[in-house]
Structures are given as structure tokens and as C-alpha cells.
Point group: D3
């Protein structure tokens, strides 16, 4: 039975807001390399970097009705996560729905299907990560669910989880671990800053990360070109 869950519990908005600045790659590392959506989800225009709390919906093939239903469940600071239940490339989303979401303070859309009006979306400054850019329209005939756990981009998303999206892709941070992930991300940024200075100074990763002994233990051998050719 198709349902709309109306009062989902969202991640702490302050934590949700803070994750955008770390970026997708760092957040993904900070939570143990989990929660990354499939790389086929790409920004329809380049440059946006957002984070926010997930409102989810499922989409029947070629049917965008549930996006309209989901809009009503969105609040400022949310990101809508639209998960088709079968591979689909139709244009489920365009500038009118973007206008509506923007009017509600929604920060962006993640949709594992098609999107259209992409020039308008860029003009509006409304960011979308999608699987396809496709103008083919959708019908409004079949119900789905809003604010239930979904599989989007081959990853599990629960309503209220934090979504982080930038040019590198989209990552999901479970509501319950968002604060710990933010802390781990900050620690990682700090550590990378120190490494970056060493790399800029010309130090090698082999030394920055003390890899030489372990490489030798595993059997890595350095030989000359002449010796290599003699072995062929």
C-alpha cells in the first residue's frame, strides 16, 4: 500500500549543513568508505556543492507523480532523493518542480533517472544530480511511497539521512552517525593539510606514508631496463 510518512526525524540541521564543506570524497572516507551513490549520478550543471537532509520518494517507470507528493513533505534545508523502481531515463523533473522546491527552501535533487530543462535549472541555481539528461515527459498514473527507506544510486537512503553532493558525486550519511562523521571528516582534512604541505615540498607518498618497507616485504623489485629486456 503506497504511503507517505509525514513526520520523519531529520539529522541535526547544523551537522547536516556542515558536511558540504568537507566534500563528498572526504565524507565518504570519514565514514569508512560507505554510502557512496553510483558514479552514474552526475551534476546536470557543474559547480554546486550542497548538503542537507533527505526526503525520499520512489518513482514508478516513467511516472513522476510522487515527486509532487514529496514536495509537500520537504522543509528548508532538505534535499529530495527520488528513486525509480526500475531503470528509467525519462525527464521526471524540470524547471517548474525546481521552482516549487526552491520556494520551499529545498537545496537540490538527487534522482537516479532523467532530468530536463537543465539550462533553466542552471539559471535558477537549483542543483540536480541525475543519471540522464532527457526531455521525455512522464505520466501521473501510478503511486509510490514518500519517506520510506529507498535504494537510490545503488545505495540505501533513509529519510532524514544527510546527503552530500558535489562534482565528485553523492554520498549518504546515516542520521545517527552524522555528527561523528563530521568530526572524522575534520580530522581527515587536518591530516591531509599536513600531508599536502609535504607533497608540495616534493616529498614522495612512499615516504610520507612510510610505504617502502612494506613494498619490499611484498616482493616489489627494482630492475633496470636492460635487465628487464634480458628476461623477456
Amino acid at each position: 500500500m503506497p504511503i507517505v510518512v509525514t513526520d520523519i526525524q531529520r539529522a541535526d540541521p547544523e551537522v547536516a549543513d556542515s558536511l558540504a564543506r568537507f566534500g563528498v570524497a572526504t565524507v565518504h572516507e570519514a565514514q569508512g568508505r560507505t554510502g557512496l551513490m553510483h558514479q552514474r549520478l552526475r551534476p546536470v550543471w557543474r559547480g554546486a556543492a550542497i548538503s542537507g537532509t533527505a526526503v525520499t520518494c520512489t518513482l514508478p517507470p516513467g511516472d513522476n507523480w510522487m515527486i509532487h507528493v514529496a514536495v509537500e513533505q520537504c522543509r528548508p534545508g532538505d534535499i529530495l532523493v527520488a528513486a525509480p523502481i526500475a531503470e528509467a531515463h525519462s525527464g521526471y523533473f524540470g524547471d517548474l518542480l525546481a521552482t516549487s522546491l526552491q520556494a520551499r527552501g529545498v537545496r537540490g535533487l538527487i534522482i537516479d533517472a532523467g532530468c530536463r530543462d537543465v539550462d533553466d535549472l542552471e539559471r535558477l541555481g537549483f542543483p540536480v544530480w541525475s543519471r540522464s539528461i532527457c526531455a521525455h515527459g512522464t505520466v501521473k498514473e501510478t503511486l509510490g511511497d514518500v519517506n520510506v527507506p529507498v535504494s537510490c544510486g545503488e545505495t540505501l537512503v533513509r529519510p532524514g539521512d544527510v546527503i552530500v553532493a558535489d562534482t565528485d558525486g553523492v554520498v549518504v550519511v546515516p542520521r545517527g552517525t552524522a555528527a561523528a562523521t563530521a568530526a572524522a571528516a575534520q580530522a581527515r582534512i587536518d591530516k591531509e593539510e599536513r600531508s599536502r604541505a609535504r607533497y608540495q615540498a616534493g616529498e614522495l607518498g612512499l615516504d610520507v606514508n612510510a610505504m617502502r618497507d612494506r613494498l619490499a616485504d611484498k616482493g616489489l623489485t627494482y630492475i633496470t631496463q636492460a635487465d628487464w629486456e634480458a628476461q623477456q
Copy 2:
């Protein structure tokens, strides 16, 4: 027997010119959601939006000879539609052919195969929608046809039809219905303008489109998170 049809009947140029400003998504809707090419056809540089009358040609695998033949059949206001007869990613088209088409007043190229010299094409301002960007050159050994009906982008194109192309993709408007489609597109734009104002004002699609009763009839149910969890 390979042929070139020399005196095709084109859509009314005024109508053909007028369709660009509606955009691909609106034109596609205005003609009943038909005629859209496959979403794999993407602009090789971003920003162009054109419409014009189709000159068509077929392409044997890895052979671009018929593009040269087709150029001669083009007039100002045309768009060349190049349809390979087998999946192919070679670079059938580059800056020299673009120079030649531009010199004849051709507005762009739609090719369901590869294209190269894309930086030059952007500098020239010659827009191309292609399946691939690939530098692999082609031979000139096998004939095809010019100005016959073709399947391009998984869609039927007849010579003289109107092509509309922008960042959302490529749509084909049959010559005979182009004027009616233009009128329907204008009506759709007007209607969307009214809806847009309501969305901007914060109204929901559920109300703008009067969807609530029909959703309830289909059985959509609103429940609380607590009730949902109790059901799991």
C-alpha cells in the same frame, strides 16, 4: 542502390526558425511526446539552441563519405542529420566539414556517432549533437543515401522535417505538423508561465494541478513515522 534525393520539400522556414525558442522539452510535449532522439545524443559543447530543416544521410560503419555528398544538398537554415547504419564511435566529423557547412549557412549537425575537433567546433560556434567524442578517422569507400527517411537517435527523421536541439537533447518535428506544433508549444509556454508564478508563490503542484482527490482515490495513505515503524 545508393541515391541522393535532390529537391526535397522543406518545412516552412518561418515555422522551422520559430521552434528553437520553445526548447526541446516543450516542443516534445507539444507534439504529444513523440519524436525525441535518444538521450545519448549530447551537445559536444554546451550552450547552443537551434532549430532548422533536416537534410539526412546514412553512414556506413567508419565511413564519412556521404557527409561530403550531403553538404552539397544543404541550404541556409538546414541542419544535417547523419545516421550511421551500425553502432559506430569513430570521428566522422571535424572542423573542416564544419567550416564547409557554416559556409553554406547550415546551423548544426546531429550525428548518432562520433565527432572530433570539438574545441575547434566551439571556437567556430558550430554546434554538434553526437553520441561520442572520438578522434578516430574514417574512410571514404562505401556509399549510403542522402535525403531519404532515416533512423537517427532511435527516431524516424524524414528530409525536410524540423529539428530542434538544445542542452536537453534533440527532437524531430514532422514537416506536416510543424505549424500546429509551434502553436501548441506557445500555448504550453503560456500555461507554464501561469503555473510558474503560482509555484514561485509557494503553491504546491498538488494544488496547482488538483491532484489530491485522485491520489486519495488511488489509495495513497499518510501515516506517521511511529505508525510506519509499528507495521515493519
Copy 3:
């Protein structure tokens, strides 16, 4: 046994440097249409055009350890060519490794797998051609080889070969024929310049390339629309 070849012979740096300005399409033509990598290798940011000498490494699935090893073998003017031994989309490479390669004077990376931190890479001005953009991190557990011949982008690359990469893709020029290829590329550019002037003046490829007789010999027939319809 995993090995690192330490003293590879590189193509003449002057020749290697000179190839960038011809561009990928022309270089590929100039060497008889060989050596082009698969079109799935795309620039992660648009606008760079480079050439340089190849340092190669192989990558086990989801493991970027050998990139660290390969960095040490790089010199100014090199381009790193990273070849996974199985299809992989993880983000093997990001801004720290780019910083390290830049510090060594390396001009870019060709990787037939995933890359991340692409906004940072654009800010750094470090160009990468990759198969995917993906934030998923990699481990450092399994060895591969550095500076052996590899298959990258479905093309054979030997250490020391010249790599040319731009918006059209990536082409490999064997070390031994790089000088001859540069000469042939220059000749081709000169010839195209002459053709371009004729195309700009409105001449047709059919005449610029003297194709009409051969087309007729092969049986190409020009007919009117009316005659064509009568045949259907």
C-alpha cells in the same frame, strides 16, 4: 613478480613537447590512425591540451598503491599512464597525488579508471583523463608493475612513448616514430590550412577532394523527390 623498471628510455623531449600543439586528431591521423585510446577516457575538466613522455603502471582492482610507487619514477615532462588490470571505477587519484606529481613537473595523468577531487584538480590546473569520476577510495594491499608495457584505454603503451591528450581524447605515439609523426602532423596541418581556406570560400569537399567521379563509378545516383516516391 612485480617490478619497477628504473631507467626507461624516453622519447626526445623536444619532440614530445612539440606534439601537443597538433592536437590528438591530427597526431592520430599523422601516424596512420593508430594508437588512439578508447573514447571513454575523457578530461575531468575541460580545456587542457598536453603532451609528454609516458611513465606507466598497472593497477590491481580498487588498489592505488602502485601510483605512489610510480610517482618516484616520474621526471619533469612526463605523463603518468595508469592502467587497471580489470574494469574499475574507484577513485584511484585525487588532489594529494596531483600535488605530488605537480611538484615533480609531471604534466598530467591518464587513468582508465576513476578519479576524484575533480574541482581541486581544476583549481590546481592538473589535467586528468579518466574513465569515471568517482569518490570511492582505494586500498594499498596488492602490487603491480611500473614502467612495463601496458594496455591502457584498449591501446598498448610502452614506457617512454609520447602521450598527447586534449578534448578529443588521448593518443599514444611510439617513442621510435615520434619525430616522424611530428613531421607528418605538421604536413597535415599545412594541407588542412589550404583546404580550410577553400571550404571557407564555399567550395565543396566533393570538389576539394575530387570525389565526384569515384562516387559515380561506385553507382551513386541523383534523383528527384518525385522519382523517389514513385519507386516506393
Copy 4:
């Protein structure tokens, strides 16, 4: 923190067993067209049709360690569902693991990644639905989870849910609704049986399903070839 949930609640085994005979397409219809995995999951050998209760695990890229951990959690009547957390085609599973699962009474494997030893699997009669057939081996370095909700085949699977798999694909039936789905599937089979007799007797779907009025209402028009051509 990687975890193994040890005492999952499984769907009623009698219900789970009963679903195989309805087949994937009917079960999918019976539960409102939800829960179907992506069509890229194909049987590695053809002919098996199974149902059973899901034990789930996640798989890091190129790492099959958690399959070994998951085996211990399996009981007779289970089906193992292995969900990679990134696109991967390595051969995570072969004849030794199949032998182990068979020894525990497990009915099959669903894996959204690669599988190998497929001739052996057919000889053993152990069915596998996978994304790829690929011999590339995996490492055992990184942990994942066992018996948590996963996204497999772009669909949400909870441990203890029922899996139904045959030549048409793989469908997931939530534990809580499995009995109702079985009843609905039986009703659908009965209804289809009656329709089948009418189709065999030459009746048309237009009449069996009383579609003619609705088609006319929507505007479907029957015309002759001559009239159609006159309109072109």
C-alpha cells in the same frame, strides 16, 4: 563499525518455499510491481527457479571476505544476497564457496557483481544470479556487514525477506507481506489461466480486457493505408 547480526527473523519458511512456483513475473505483479532487482542480474546457467529467505552481506570493491563470514549465518532454505558497495565485476564467488553453501542447505546466490567457475556451478546444480561472469579473483582485506538492510540490484533487501529468482530475474518480497503476496499470486495465476484459455481460442486482448471503449475515448483512430498516405 562492521557488524554481523546473528539472529535475524526469517519469513515463514512454508510461505518462502511456496513462492518459487509462481515465478518472478507473477510475484512481482502480485505485490504491486515493487521489489524487482535490475535486469542486469542474470542466471549464470539457465533453468533454475528458486525461492528462499535472504541472508545479506555487503562487499567492498574486489573483496569477498564477507561472503565467508556470511556463510556461517546461513541455514537450510536461505538464499545469500551479496551487495557490493561500488560497481564491481570481479569474480567474488566460485565453486568452493558454492560447495560450502550447498553443504549448509543454501539454495542459491544473488550477487550484483561477478561470479566465476560457472561450468562447475552448473555441474553442482548451484544457481547464481550475477551481474557479470568474470574470473578476476578478490582479496580478503576489508570488512563489510552481514544481515543488515542492503541495496542489491538497485532494490532494498532486508535480512529475512523472501527472494524469488528464475529466468526472468530476481524479486524481493518483504518478510511481513510474504503470505499476502503468495495469496495474491495464486489469485493472479487463476485469473491468467482463464484468460489463457480465451487467448488460445483466438479471442483478442482488446475483448478479453474490454479495452475498445477506452481506446476510442482516448482518441485512437483506425484509417486505411490510402487515407494515411494522403495525410503525409
Copy 5:
């Protein structure tokens, strides 16, 4: 306006029937290497080889209503060609529709989308060439056309054309040239029979086809391994 053309002109049934025995590859060659559908159309079960006259229909995304309409237009000896107007993988066709088509003497289905109940189809002996095997059901809400020219498998098909399908794929033979194609196919078979005997006797293609001089003219050079290595 959606239409059904009711009295299409079919190719000569005797000619249409005769083409199956030549096979797809030979027919495709016999008509100058045109008309082949994309290789993604594969038989859902292996072994069938058919030819017959095309009844065509278009399919909106995820909507199989027009298949029901098209069935009524089919006669014994026909093959139904179902062309989606957007990429779609749903299961538009299953055993009930196959039963209905079989009852009317239809020989098979070509569908550039998904198909389900494939085990039943094999039991029925009803052959289908499809893009996907997918159980996801379709709705009946949107109209399309029956017996108009369509683009299916990236190829133009007109109602009444001949379809030939076997393990190698699907080829379309225009109604007007079917007899000539049959004659050319027979000639090709005869010629291949003579070549086959020579190949079986150990003659080389280089000699059977007198290729040596032309290869030498193009510059093919035979060298020893030692000489080749000296050049590297």
C-alpha cells in the same frame, strides 16, 4: 493523433517465407549491408530462425497497450515489430500475449525493449528478439500508433516489410526489394558454397579472394621476428 492503419500492403508471402533459410547475415549482405537492427536485440531463447511480414507498433515508455491493439492487425505469417519511443527495459510482453499471437498465426516478436516469461515462451515455441529480459510490468494508459513506419533497433521498418531473425540478429528487407534480395541471397549462398569447399581443402582466403597483390600495393610488409625486434 494516434492511428491504426488497417489494410497495409504486405510483401509477397512466398518471398517473405523464403528468406528465413538464408539467414540474417546472408540476407543483410544480399541487400548491400543495410537494414540490420542493432546487435542488442537478442533472442530470448536460442535456436529459432524465422521470416515474415512486419506489423509495426510504437510503445510509450512502460506502456504496452498498443501491443494489444496491434495483435488484431496481425495475420498468419506476420511478425510483430514493437518499437518503444524511448529507451525502456520493462517487460512489455509475456506468455499471454504470445498465446494470443500464436493463435493468430504470428511467427514471432521483435521488441527493442524488455520481455518476460521467457521460459514459457520457450515452452510455447514462440520466438522473441528483445533488448532486455525484465519482469517489470507495464501500464495501459497512453496511445501510440500501429502500422506506421517506425524506428526499431535503430533501423527503419515499414509495415509490410520482411523481417528475418535468427541467432545472428534481425534484418529488415523492404517490401519492394524482397524478391530481388532473395535472388541475391541465393546467389551468395551458391558462391559461398564454392568458396567453402576451397577453404575446407586448405586454400587460404588470400588466394581464394586473390588478395595478395592488393595487399602488397597497399604496402603490407613481411618481416622476421629478428628484424622486427631490431626496429623497436
Copy 6:
């Protein structure tokens, strides 16, 4: 300059012959998980398992001329490896060329492109591993090379290397290490035989491979469903 190397050095035929019985997965493991071709190379008919020495050739797009040239370089016990220099799906190979290769004692074909006449190939018992099954014919206009190192299936193959191919895919064994690989494969088979007995007896991989301590060290935690739910 296109060349044919005429006197390549082949791997020891006895060793080359012996590898087929180990199978692709075992050989691939035995040589350190290298040399596996991409999983897109699939047998066009199922059941064959071969090994032999590689004769290589490159293929221009849509051009199979070099296969004819390569046939002459083949001897009994060889396997022809045909490597296109650009992605291509045409049917480069069919029953006549198979007849010719069989007459010379060649054991099979590996082609990273299209193949046709697959029913005939199965009747002949001539095994082919290909990327596509496609009837589209090829021309004979452009030269390539025979018996040079090639990139096929995204893997480097040198003439004279051993090829092993079965239902799991295709692996390349360098000529110089073939004997060592055969020995390692035998050792692996022996070890797996002992493990298999233990798995059949119901022992777990966790114990057969002594994994429990290392899992615990890495932090794997076993918890109850109740505890897990309390954490959510």
C-alpha cells in the same frame, strides 16, 4: 608501416596444451591474477574450453582484411587473437573463415569485436569468444599488423603467448612463464581439492582459512538483531 611478422616464437606446445584443463580462473590465479581479458569477451556458444598459442592481428574499424592475412601465419595448436584498434561491433568473422582456420588446425578465435554465423560456428565446433554477435559485414580496405604485441580485451598479448579460454572468459599467459604457471596451477588445483573435501563435509571457510582472529582484529562485531535495532 603495416607488417606481418612471419616466424614468431611460440610457447612450448606441450605446456600450451596442458593449460586448458586447469581452466581460466585457476590459471589466472596461478600467475598472480594478471592477464585476464575484460569480461565482455563471451563465448558465442557455450561449452568449449581450449588453450593454445597466440597469433595476433590488429583490425581497423569495420575492416577484417587482416584476419585473412593472419590465417596464413597460423599453425595447428594456435588460437587467433584479433584486436580492433577502435570499439567496433561489426561481424568480422563467420563460418567461411572458421572453416579456413579449422582446416589449418587452429583451435579458436578471440576477437574483441563482433562475430556472426554463430549457429554455423557451433555446428562446426569452432569456438569463438567475442564482444558482440552482429551480422554487419566488414570491408577489406585498410591494413593492420600481424604478430605484433596487441591490446585485446584490455590486456596485452604478445604473439606466441598462451591463450586459455572457457566459460569464465579468456586469460593470457606470457610465453616465458607458461611452464611455471602450469606448475602453479596444478598446485592450486591440489590445494583446492583438499579444501573442497572440507567444505563438502560442512566446514566453514572461516575455519578452513583460519580467518576468525584476523576478522576480530579488524573489528568485526557480532550482535543480535535486538541490539542492532536499538542502535538505529
